[in-house]
Symmetry: C2
Subunit: 122 residues, 2 copies
DNA sequence: CTTACGCTTCTACAATACTGGAACTATGAG
DNA sequence: CTCATAGTTCCAGTATTGTAGAAGCGTAAG
């Protein structure tokens, strides 16, 4: 993933409403959700929702397909994977390997264990 | 990492100038870089740079320390790690495991190999 | 003390983004 | 065909963000 696209994806997710929408799409899995359903769940006017959905589509974070008069939106997981790849390699490949970071990430989801790395957290 | 903070970090990195600054900080490693040096490298006016640096600090993506009359900025790797953790678990923990994603990310950095997953890329 | 330097804060302006009502388009039911 | 439903696009209006000159604040050297 190029930096230019990374900026676009990061900016797309760096907005509360949009990240909320995206999380709902993830929850819904590959089956996706119709726009109206998302609007109802998030209590966002359809026009506003549509605006953000176009944004997510443009960043390749969401896909849409028509089913009757519904428009079903679903998350594009590969874009997130690529973003993570970008963060791991282009940004943070210097001080440690991706697997190490994955290890740290995995550790974070567990209750708690004595921190292994010595880095403080400002 | 809470969603609220994730939005902040994503937004902080979702801006070209700021991502550029951050990448330079990463390149510089733990030693960091003085503000003026960053401004010179990126050819950004000091006032503009300072604005973005405060932004990065607020998102806990950068730290600063004074050394004489220099202000040295350095990247806070753990925040990126946590962001990745958030993306892996809170966002994308549904369809596959973190290690799988790490595998995909690792694969992406190599020249090219026949795509293993069947997912299309819209 | 005075000056130079490095950086931040102040300030104003331009650009961009977010929001949501209203009008419009497409699909399906009666 | 007519009507209802689902979404998108249009169009303000408002808010937020990005940019950068100018002034201000420390620090250190002369």
């Amino acid at each position: 993933m190029r930096t230019r696209q990374a900026v676009e994806v990061l900016a797309a997710l760096g907005q509360e409403t949009r990240l909320d929408i995206f999380r709902h799409l993830i929850q819904a899995g590959p089956a996706g959700l119709p726009a109206g359903e998302i609007a109802a769940r998030l209590k966002v006017p359809l026009a506003t929702l549509s605006f953000h959905l176009q944004h997510l589509k443009h960043a390749r974070l969401a896909r849409s397909q028509k089913r009757g008069k519904l428009v079903i939106y679903s998350a594009n997981f590969t874009t997130v994977d690529r973003l993570i790849g970008y963060l791991l390699h282009d940004c943070c490949g210097r001080p440690r390997t991706g697997l190490e970071v994955c290890g740290e990430a995995a550790r974070e989801s567990k209750p708690a264990s004595k921190s292994v790395s010595g880095e403080a957290d400002s």
